[in-house]
Symmetry: C2
């Protein structure tokens, strides 16, 4: 194990960014100057940023550092895909406390680099400093979009179809499982939890992927969504965002919400309401979007996308129609660390 | 005083970003979507980022929140000017612990907004979350530069003149003074330190400015520096960066280093070596740059810029020539929180 103080800031940065080679044409100058230089010409530049703090956004007792790095990068890529764009560069700032060694930070960085490799993104800069408390990760992602293809949150219109990719609630159930095992293993050394049959929900929590495949499929089918977001705070909360900004209402059907069977089994086991988990769980990083009714046939051709409801006029509000035909108003109970903090 | 939990994340963001109007043409879509949308067309995009942590980078016992916000923004602008560019947008991520109220964060944000107003920069996004420890501020700045006007660190050439703007060591001496008063006032309520005659060094520490005036003057005089950086870690450290990346050496003259008289008086009072403070103090945010010898007459026309030495061949190394003609090798003793941490 190598103490970080033995390398210093510049030594650590040199080590982390060793053999970092840019793959994107838009990356003109990467790490090593006051600022990175990018060239975007006829494309629009998309910028998004995320701040992750230890014990608020992640718990290192059950999150491996490499996975954490991967996820920290991917959640930013997801925001760029949610604009119908393509992530191209990130900057990575780290605040590191003394309990971390060089090897720890290398593992974290390996995860970030791996995500960049998979998604074709360049690391172009950042900042590294010591933290007196836990680990701090701040990532900013820069991406590109074609002017007439960028999708905002405010374009949903009455009668549009509401679509969602993949399935919902799995990441949240994965988190519940990890939390349960953490409590169960407290104080036991070398405790090996058995996640057999629950690999999917664990993976959804620890190593989410951004849905670039869906963005590609939409382009292939010639569909431009009228509004789009990624589901990070929960379906309910995101739907309300889209409707509020678009001045519309919506209706979604309980029985249309896509849920994986492992998510369902876990909810059963923990005696939790499955639909609540799927509506408010968060961290799914699926794409939620609306398309004109006329695109119905084309949407059906895209594997892994489900129509879950439709957009209405604003005065009808946002509601879910349950299996027995009742209407329940949607509420933004999303994952909100500022409000939920104890 | 308003508790942040009473507003929640979205409520707080709404309040902080209220009436935020973009002033730059390149800002197409600001806060409120998954990513900001910028349009840079024929300009290069410059990206830089900084992470500031409480009790590592700032001490709230003597730094007013509004000044902290101003400084956090300005140090990022400074990095963009150091590329010979112009800052245009920032994203602001905040990690906030429970001891802060809405009014505290509004004061911090007021400082950030004020800096943006002064420098013509738009706030286009960010992230706000709770922190279990202190205050975390992560700012990313995006700017523009003309392709053939951008200045890197690696272009210095043998015989180039080394220039620096303003004066050095003042911010460091301001910090020493604040630290001394903090110790002196420990436990005393309503202690009012007397900073009479030392306003300049206090201001240099608490409310630095970025040297856009120098960037403008260089353009006006038709000068394109061969290499440029801002002095954030100390003159010595920055000079070594430029020489290392440019494969050159350098000679600077002790008696040419610009130092304000308040800096000198404070060093005297604290029994500190004045030149060491000016070489290694850090946080000056002045511009350090090199120009071809042929630009000598033109450089002289720019007020507030001083020629402090010249670039040499690499094998001569980096050194300072003292008042009595001795050569002392420059060392990177710069401000390095990762190495200095106790």
């Amino acid at each position: 194990m190598t103490e970080i103080s033995s390398l210093g800031e510049f030594g650590l940065i040199d080590r982390l960014t060793d053999k970092l080679e840019a793959v994107n044409e838009s990356t003109k100058k990467s790490v090593g100057d006051d600022a990175a230089v990018l060239e975007y010409k006829d494309k629009e530049v998309l910028v998004t940023t995320d701040l992750l703090l230890e014990n608020v956004h992640f718990d290192l007792t059950y999150v491996p550092l490499q996975h954490l790095g991967y996820k920290a990068a991917v959640v930013n890529f997801s925001d760029v895909y949610a604009m119908n764009g393509t992530p191209k560069q990130i900057t990575v700032s780290l605040g590191i406390s003394r309990r971390f060694t060089v090897e720890h930070i290398e593992a974290l960085y390996a995860g970030i680099r791996r995500a960049c490799e998979v998604y074709g993104v360049d690391i172009v800069g950042g900042d590294t400093c010591s933290s007196h408390q836990g680990l701090v990760i701040s990532i900013t992602c820069i991406g590109e979009g074609e002017k007439d293809r960028i999708v905002y949150r405010d374009g949903a219109r009455d009668t549009d179809l509401i679509c969602v990719s993949g399935d919902l609630g799995a990441a949240y159930m994965g988190l519940q499982l990890l939390e349960r095992e953490k409590v169960a293993s407290a104080g036991q050394k070398d405790f090996q939890p058995d996640f057999g049959g629950k690999e999917y929900i664990i993976e959804r929590q620890l190593k989410p992927e951004a849905r670039r495949d869906i963005v590609a499929a939409l382009a292939r089918e010639g569909i431009k969504p009228t509004a789009m977001m990624d589901v990070s705070d929960g379906l309910s909360s995101e739907l309300i965002h889209i409707c509020k900004q678009s001045h519309t209402g919506c209706r979604i059907y309980e029985d249309r919400i896509p849920i994986d069977y492992q998510t369902a089994i876990m909810a059963e086991e923990l005696n939790m309401n499955l639909v609540t988990a799927a509506l408010n769980g968060g961290e799914d990083y699926e794409l939620l979007f609306t398309v004109p009714l006329a695109d119905h046939e084309r949407i059906k051709k895209i594997e892994g996308v489900k129509v879950i409801g439709y957009v209405t006029k604003e005065d009808l509000g946002c509601a879910m129609i349950t299996r027995d035909g009742a209407e329940i108003p949607l509420r933004a109970q999303g994952w909100n660390p500022l409000k939920d903090e104890k």
